[in-house]
């Protein structure tokens, strides 16, 4: 597959081909070929939650004046807005840093489950034995996102890129890297 055929998703930043990124255990000769994040559609649940909080606050502003003074209502609003900002920000960070990275040497799965727990799994391209793509559900088919499962030989760990955009393209890129021993065809 020609590199020119693959374009990054510049708006959602969920599919980045040859991005300008580095990761902690990157080797000197190692080039990042692909970075994938969960499809932006899969993040709608926390975005909706945030807007529900804001709506409840707006609704509460009609009820609160019978209990609190104006000064107190302003402070309650300030508090709720701060917490909603943090709620949004934590989720943005978790989405932004939970990435799948494909380099010319390795496949890396970096997962942040919450602010204080992370998981780093990696395997070399030569160890990959099987690649599986799963695209399921109405929205998965419509918006072209799904899960890529990277299986390695023996009891080595398996890597999963969950709900990523363009899973078939990801598999093609990894297949090409496997075929050409980590070197991309020009």
């Amino acid at each position: 597959m020609e590199s020119a055929e693959i374009s990054s998703d510049k708006i959602s930043h969920a599919f980045l081909f040859r991005p300008d990124v580095r990761f902690s255990s990157q080797h000197q000769e190692e080039d990042v070929v692909l970075v994938v994040r969960q499809h932006i559609f899969t993040q709608l649940s926390w975005i909706a939650n945030g807007f529900i909080f804001i709506s409840l606050l707006i609704l509460g502003n009609f009820i609160l004046p019978s209990f609190f003074s104006i000064n107190q209502i302003v402070i309650v609003n300030f508090f709720v807005v701060s917490f909603v900002i943090s709620y949004f920000w934590i989720n943005i960070l978790l989405w932004y840093f939970t990435v799948g990275v494909v380099t010319n040497e390795r496949i890396i799965d970096l997962d942040f489950y919450n602010l204080i727990y992370k998981e780093f799994s990696a395997t070399t391209i030569v160890q990959v034995s099987d690649l599986t793509t799963k695209i399921g559900g109405f929205f998965g088919s419509l918006l072209n996102f799904g899960t890529v499962n990277v299986q390695t030989e023996g009891f080595e760990q398996n890597i999963e890129f969950e709900r990523i955009p363009r899973p078939s393209t990801v598999v093609k890129i990894i297949n090409n890297l496997m075929k050409f021993g980590g070197e991309e065809p020009k």
């Binding site: 990124v21 580095r22 609190f68 000064n71 107190q72 917490f83 943090s86 840093f97 970096l110 780093f120």
Partner: protein
């Protein structure tokens, strides 16, 4: 302290509510400060683990929330 005792011995609804609100506001403001400090520290760690062109922007936004938490503490201590 004397005011607190007199409030508890001779309370009115408004004063109780105000005291209650202030206590919770101060408590939550300090907890929020703790959260934002952890968040900023974690953003630094995340940036070290995975560095992108937007790393510094992410850190600035996280740090801004510490300032926000500081403002909340001041507000809850002096404006309620």
């Amino acid at each position: 302290m004397e005011n607190v005792f007199s409030l508890l011995s001779n309370p009115t609804n408004g004063e109780f509510l105000s005291l209650f609100l202030k206590a919770f506001a101060v408590l939550f403001a300090f907890l929020y400060l703790l959260l934002t400090v952890v968040m900023t520290r974690q953003t630094q760690i995340m940036n070290q683990t995975f560095t992108t062109t937007k790393s510094s922007l992410l850190l600035i936004i996280s740090s801004f929330q510490i300032v926000l938490a500081g403002i909340l503490i001041i507000i809850s201590l002096f404006l309620i």
